[in-house]
Structure formats: structure tokens, C-alpha cells
């Protein structure tokens, strides 16, 4: 009888541990790419978004810092030197021919030159930039509040998201590559600290940081803050744009709501 033979507990535990560990690791990688499981994991994002929207008032501001806190080595990330032909042509003459086009679900589509934007009332803020990778840098940004532009073009009632189309191709593929884009919901698009910055740390916005114009969304992570912005569009939903998830990184599995 088996009971009489005794039971090798130690050997059993060891084998169970190694076998279990291997199965769990392989199983987790399988789960990571299984559609049903990803859909379940992705549900946490709406819980996070709903919770944060509930506790985060529309006027709650991201912390602003002093000049002394500014990072001497603000790390540029993503595209830092776009080689797209259109962009190179614009940058060659100091972005004099660059125009920011704002359209979509708006009453009066408009466009602005860099000089036009500089002539508008501006906001300057020293804020902390939190990258999804985990690091933080502090920088000073000067630009036009996005809300000022949206007020001028007049959002149609059905407009729910603001989409930002960028000049840079971040990923080269055989099909030609994917241009960067991003989108915001209206609560963040109309927030006082959401600006289109043309200056960084008191100087002209450098190419590495998104010249001539980049978005600042201070209550979310860095990847929401589109650089090299060319065109802005108000839409009712973004499912028809590129991968349909609302942004370059969102199409690659990152959260659309990046307040976390």
C-alpha cells in the first residue's frame, strides 16, 4: 500500500515548486497575449479613469515648482530628431511656413502661424514631467492655453475628443511607418495648465523637445504630451483614426487615460 511506503514530502514539494513555477510563467505569457484576458486587464483603466475623474476637480492643478527645481538635464524621449521630409522643410527656415490647423467638429476652422500664437495671451508654468518609464524631470514651459484656441474655433456640441496630429514618424514599418498622434478628453483639453508650448526653460522650444509646438498635459504622463504638433481636430470618437485607441502608444497597449 502506498501509505506504508511513506511519502517523500520534500521531493514532492520541490518538484511541485519547479513545475508550478514554470507553468505559471509560461501561462502568464500566454495570458498576456490572450484577447479575453487582455480585455479583462484593460477594464482596470476605466475604473482608474472614473475614480480619478471623481476625485480630481476640473480646477485641481498639477504642482508648480520654482526656477531652482528645474532639471539641468531634461531627458528628451520618443522622437528627438524627426527625419520626415515635410518636417525638415519646415524646420529649415525656422518654421516660418508652419501653420497650426484646427478643424474637425468646430464652427470655424482656423489656422495660426507661430507668430500668431506668440502674440496671443500666454501661460508659463514650471511643472514636473513624469515619463511612463518612471523618471521625472522639471521644466519651464510657455505657450498658449489650448482652451483659448478651442474657444476661437468654437466646438460643436458633438465634439468629445481633441486629436493632435504630429510631424514625426516614431516607428518605421514596411508600410511606411506610423506618425505620432494623441488625443484628450474635454476635461483635460480645457484644463488651465493644458497649453501648446513654444518655449522651454526660457528659450525657443528645441527640436528634441518638439519644436515648433508641443502639448503639455500636466495631470497625465509624458506620452500624452504630443510633440511636433501640426494639426488639431475635434472629433466625436477616435475609433476610425489609425489603430483606433486614441494615440500612438495607446495603439501599442498603453492606457488612453494616463493619469496613472
Amino acid at each position: 500500500m502506498r501509505v506504508d511506503k511513506g511519502f517523500d514530502r520534500r521531493g514532492f514539494l520541490k518538484r511541485a515548486f519547479v513545475l508550478g513555477g514554470t507553468l505559471v510563467l509560461a501561462g502568464c505569457d500566454q495570458l498576456s497575449s490572450a484577447d479575453w484576458f487582455r480585455r479583462m486587464l484593460f477594464r482596470a483603466e476605466s475604473l482608474t479613469r472614473t475614480t480619478q475623474r471623481a476625485i480630481l476637480g476640473p480646477n485641481d492643478m498639477a504642482r508648480e515648482y520654482s526656477e531652482a527645481d528645474i532639471s539641468p538635464d531634461f531627458k528628451p524621449n520618443g522622437s528627438i530628431d524627426p527625419q520626415d521630409e515635410d518636417y525638415l522643410a519646415l524646420s529649415a527656415n525656422g518654421f516660418q511656413d508652419w501653420r497650426l490647423k484646427v478643424g474637425g467638429l468646430v464652427e470655424r476652422p482656423m489656422e495660426w502661424s507661430l507668430a500668431d500664437l506668440r502674440a496671443m495671451p500666454s501661460r508659463t508654468q514650471i511643472t514636473r514631467h513624469d515619463c511612463v518609464e518612471g523618471w521625472s524631470c522639471i521644466g519651464k514651459w510657455k505657450g498658449v492655453p489650448l482652451k483659448a484656441l478651442l474657444d476661437q474655433v468654437g466646438l460643436k456640441p458633438e465634439a468629445r475628443y481633441i486629436v493632435f496630429y504630429c510631424a514625426d514618424t516614431l516607428e518605421q514599418t514596411l508600410a511606411g511607418g506610423a506618425k505620432y498622434y494623441e488625443s484628450l478628453g474635454l476635461p483635460d483639453a480645457e484644463h488651465a495648465q493644458t497649453i501648446l508650448a513654444y518655449e522651454m526653460n526660457g528659450g525657443t522650444l528645441p527640436v528634441a523637445h518638439g519644436a515648433p509646438l508641443r502639448l503639455r498635459v500636466e495631470r497625465q504622463l509624458g506620452y500624452k504630451m504630443a510633440k511636433y504638433v501640426m494639426r488639431i481636430e475635434a472629433v466625436a470618437d477616435f475609433s476610425a483614426i489609425d489603430g483606433g485607441q486614441g494615440g500612438f502608444w495607446e495603439d501599442r497597449g498603453y492606457e488612453w487615460y494616463a493619469g496613472i
Binding site: 514530502r9 514539494l13 510563467l25 502568464c28 505569457d29 498576456s32 487582455r38 479583462m40 486587464l41 484593460f42 477594464r43 482596470a44 483603466e45 475604473l47 482608474t48 480619478q52 476625485i55 480630481l56 476637480g57 485641481d60 492643478m61 498639477a62 504642482r63 515648482y65 527645481d69 532639471s71 538635464d73 531627458k75 514636473r128 513624469d130 515619463c131 511612463v132 518609464e133 518612471g134 523618471w135 521625472s136 524631470c137 522639471i138 500636466e218 495631470r219 497625465q220 504622463l221 502608444w249 501599442r252 497597449g253 498603453y254 492606457e255 494616463a258 493619469g259 496613472i260
Partner: protein
């Protein structure tokens, strides 16, 4: 009182040790903490360095894992802790992935997913973080209401004899008889410390890394010393959790693995009689 058999010899006694809420929340915790640790290491690997303050001082990390410069032919992993370099090739900084030595913070077998994928790591982490917090709140609310929390607080007598208790544990002699009915002083300190100090601090430090939470509660990131300090605290607390688990598992194995497992599954635990030689 120990039960005495007819022959006058003390016998084994079955007691109901862990109540249902403790058992259920324990196993949900096992799942959550395993996933959170492994997906946390995946997230850490996206930028395997820690700093103090609000921002990253890239040239003075308190901890960094990387490949040593100019070692592409024969990659060397270096872990820097508070300015001191340690060679950690194979585990930290450089480890094998699909047969090749690559630069990565934690090794492939420790991260979730095993391959570099920050987006998916975050999805795992935040889903199980919600489950972990909900589970923890159920446990804390029940513990407060039922008086279980008081069982985790050592009394003065226990604290006075903590030296003896440590000595007994070091000799791997564990309480028997009536003493085994309650948590001993080291168990109380360990469970109280992990459940009411380390894990809540770990959650708060995690929340302080969220730019949305920081805008809603700016004081949170300030009391933790800045966002990068919060990230470091999150990491240190997670390390303490790993240490707790190692000791916890060792104690479970040494003090009767099947008896312990049964008590955390069915609630029932066998108490060994006090030994004559152990009389005090």
C-alpha cells in the same frame, strides 16, 4: 489546557485557527502580490534606476542596474547601490533572454511578462493593484470589526520576553500546547508590520507616482519626499514584502508545512502537546 488522553499522555489536538475571511483574503493576497511583484519588476525594467526628490538626478541614482560600458562582447551586469558598484551579471543588469545576454534590470524569469513589455506589465499591475486594495480593505474592515486586529498587537508580557522568543525561533523550537493557540510575539510584530505599515505605505507610495493623484492630493507626494522618493519607497517596501515572504515561507516549511497549509485552507490546525523536557 492541554487535552490529556486516558493514559495520561498529552495528545494532539485539532483547533480552528484561521477564520474564513482570513483564509480567503490570504489566498487572494498570494495571487495579487505575486502578480504585483513580477509586473512591478517589469515596470522597473523600463528605467532600472531609483532617485530621491521630486525629479530624477540622472547622475546620482540611489540604485541602478545596467550593463557596464564597453562590455558588448562579454556583457557585464553592474548594480550600483548608493554609489557602490556590484557585479551582478546573470541576474541584475545583464541576464539571459532567449539564449542571449541582454541588458535588463531584473531577469526574464522574474518579470511579467517575461519579455520586455512595459504596456502589458502596467496592465497587469493596475488590474491586480485594484484587486489587492479591495481585498486589503475587506481584511482591514473585518479585522477592525471582529477584533482580529487586536490579536496582532503584542502585549507587554510578550514584548518583555521577546529575547527568549527570538532565541527559541533561532533554535527552531516553536510554541506548543496552549501557547500555540495564539500568535507569538514575533508573528504579531511581523504580521502587524507587513499588514499595517509596509503594505499601506507601499500603496500610498504607488498612488503618489500617479500624476492625477498628485494633482488631487499634492500633500501626499510632499509627505513622501517627492515623486522620485515615492518611487524609491515603493521599491523598498516591495523588497521588504519579498523578505517577509521568504521568512514566512521558511517558517511554514520548518514548522510543519501540511499542518500550516491545512489551517490556511480549512482553518483547522493541529497543536502538538507540550514536551515534558520542555517544561517551564
Amino acid at each position: 489546557m492541554s487535552a490529556i488522553s486516558e493514559e495520561g499522555v498529552p495528545r494532539r489536538q485539532l483547533i480552528y485557527r484561521h477564520r474564513l475571511v482570513v483564509r480567503v483574503t490570504h489566498w487572494i493576497n498570494v495571487l495579487c502580490i505575486t502578480v504585483l511583484l513580477m509586473s512591478g519588476m517589469q515596470i522597473f525594467n523600463a528605467h532600472p534606476a531609483l532617485y530621491l526628490g521630486q525629479r530624477s538626478h540622472f547622475d546620482s541614482p540611489v540604485l541602478a542596474m545596467r550593463q557596464a560600458p564597453d562590455t558588448d562582447d562579454n556583457p557585464v551586469g553592474v548594480t550600483t547601490i548608493l554609489g557602490h558598484d556590484f557585479t551582478t551579471t546573470g541576474v541584475l543588469g545583464v541576464s539571459r533572454e532567449n539564449g542571449a545576454s541582454v541588458e535588463r534590470g531584473f531577469p526574464s524569469w522574474a518579470t511579467l511578462p517575461s519579455f520586455q513589455d512595459l504596456a502589458t506589465g502596467r496592465r497587469w499591475h493596475f488590474f491586480f493593484a485594484w484587486l489587492f486594495v479591495a481585498n486589503g480593505l475587506v481584511y482591514l474592515a473585518w479585522s477592525l470589526a471582529s477584533g482580529h486586529l487586536r490579536e496582532l498587537v503584542p502585549n507587554r508580557d510578550q514584548l518583555r520576553h521577546i529575547g527568549a522568543s527570538i532565541w527559541e525561533h533561532m533554535r527552531l523550537k516553536f510554541p506548543r500546547g496552549d501557547e500555540a493557540r495564539h500568535y507569538n510575539v514575533l508573528q504579531k510584530l511581523a504580521y502587524f508590520g507587513i499588514a499595517l505599515v509596509v503594505l499601506p505605505l507601499l500603496v500610498l507610495a504607488g498612488l503618489a507616482m500617479s500624476p492625477g493623484i498628485d494633482a488631487a492630493f499634492p500633500w501626499l507626494v510632499d509627505i513622501l519626499g517627492g515623486r522620485q522618493t515615492a518611487r524609491t519607497i515603493h521599491f523598498v517596501c516591495a523588497t521588504l514584502v519579498v523578505l517577509f515572504i521568504l521568512v514566512h515561507l521558511a517558517m511554514v516549511l520548518i514548522s510543519g508545512v501540511f499542518n500550516n497549509l491545512r489551517s490556511m485552507i480549512t482553518g483547522n490546525y493541529v497543536i502538538q502537546p507540550e514536551e515534558k523536557s520542555d517544561a517551564r
